[in-house]
Symmetry: C2
Subunit: 196 residues, 2 copies
């Protein structure tokens, strides 16, 4: 029902992460009810992004300029925070605590997924270090098996550059009630305990 | 981060029903990672829908032709199923059981929301009845207070046309375990019980 154009649009929405046929129909009906204020602006915004947003050739961030606004900002500290994805980079930026630059790997090493070092942006990271050595490298990998493996691999690779390499702390997350935390997090938090 | 175009796109996604800033960012990153297969097709599909889809001047359905494919289909039975919204019409079509036509009211009567008969597509329904009386009118209102009020109002209005008026049955939904059903549904199902 609704004609082929509508079916196609619902199908495209339904394949987006977190959506399905039901939520896609709900969204499309909403867009059609508010054509001028929602449907057309969304179509235009998608085209603007497609036309303007590119991957930063230095760090791998997404931005409408290349190098990105973070890489060209002279007020940024000369540290590099290595992250798995642009989503992780944005999460750290939202925390408003880090003032350095980034390097997006594009994934973690994964034996299961068959992803080796050559599939990640590691060569470009090493080039950056040789061209312009930073004061510190922070490995901000996720606390997963693959994330840990990637961190170990990078720490080993980075040794010979003589730059301090650090990792994110692991422990109880903010607002985390102990009773709902997994054993791994509890064990890590206990092992890494500090004097109060 | 990501530039003004990206911020704007995320903001538009975040305001869609069922989405928020977090899911909007996830969707936009996915779109950017698959620019050719997702981002551009979605932009094109939105424009195609904006250009082609209109409200059926007979029944209020959304389709790329006017009158819609259901209204112009001569194989459809000469019944009118009155629904609140296009979403409800689509839900009935998906059930593949109804072979008549529809009439979309555009809402229910609601004292709280200040919606009276003149705010719904009731005049156009009465015109349809006078122009071309159907064999039956089915009131497929939701089982809510407003839905019931709208059904009663319409049943009263429709009396003088001499057309049979029916309602959807109410009772235990398919797969509905009794212990999780609300008291209202249980009471209705018990009152409307039938010989086994």
């Amino acid at each position: 029902m609704g004609g082929p154009e509508l079916e196609r649009l619902i199908g495209l929405f339904a394949k987006l992460p977190g959506l399905g046929p039901r939520s896609a129909r709900r969204i499309v009906l909403k867009l059609l009810r508010e054509r001028e204020t929602r449907l057309l602006p969304l179509a235009e915004a998608l085209e603007a992004v497609a036309a303007s947003v590119r991957t930063c050739s230095v760090c791998g961030n997404l931005d409408s300029c290349d190098p990105c606004m973070i890489c060209v900002n002279p007020a940024r500290e000369r540290r590099i925070c290595v992250v798995e994805s642009v989503a992780d980079l944005w999460a750290l930026e939202r925390a408003l605590i880090y003032r350095g630059t980034y390097h997006v790997l594009g994934g973690s090493l994964s034996a299961l997924a068959g992803r080796g070092p050559e599939d990640l942006a590691i060569a470009s990271l090493l080039e950056r270090l040789e061209r312009d050595p930073p004061e510190e490298i922070i490995l901000a990998m996720p606390a997963t098996v693959d994330g840990a493996a990637t961190g170990h691999y990078l720490a080993e690779k980075l040794k010979r550059y003589g730059v301090p390499v650090s990792r994110l702390a692991q422990g109880v997350p903010m607002g985390g009630a102990l009773e709902v935390l997994d054993e791994g997090t509890l064990a890590t938090a206990l092992r890494a305990r500090r004097l109060a």
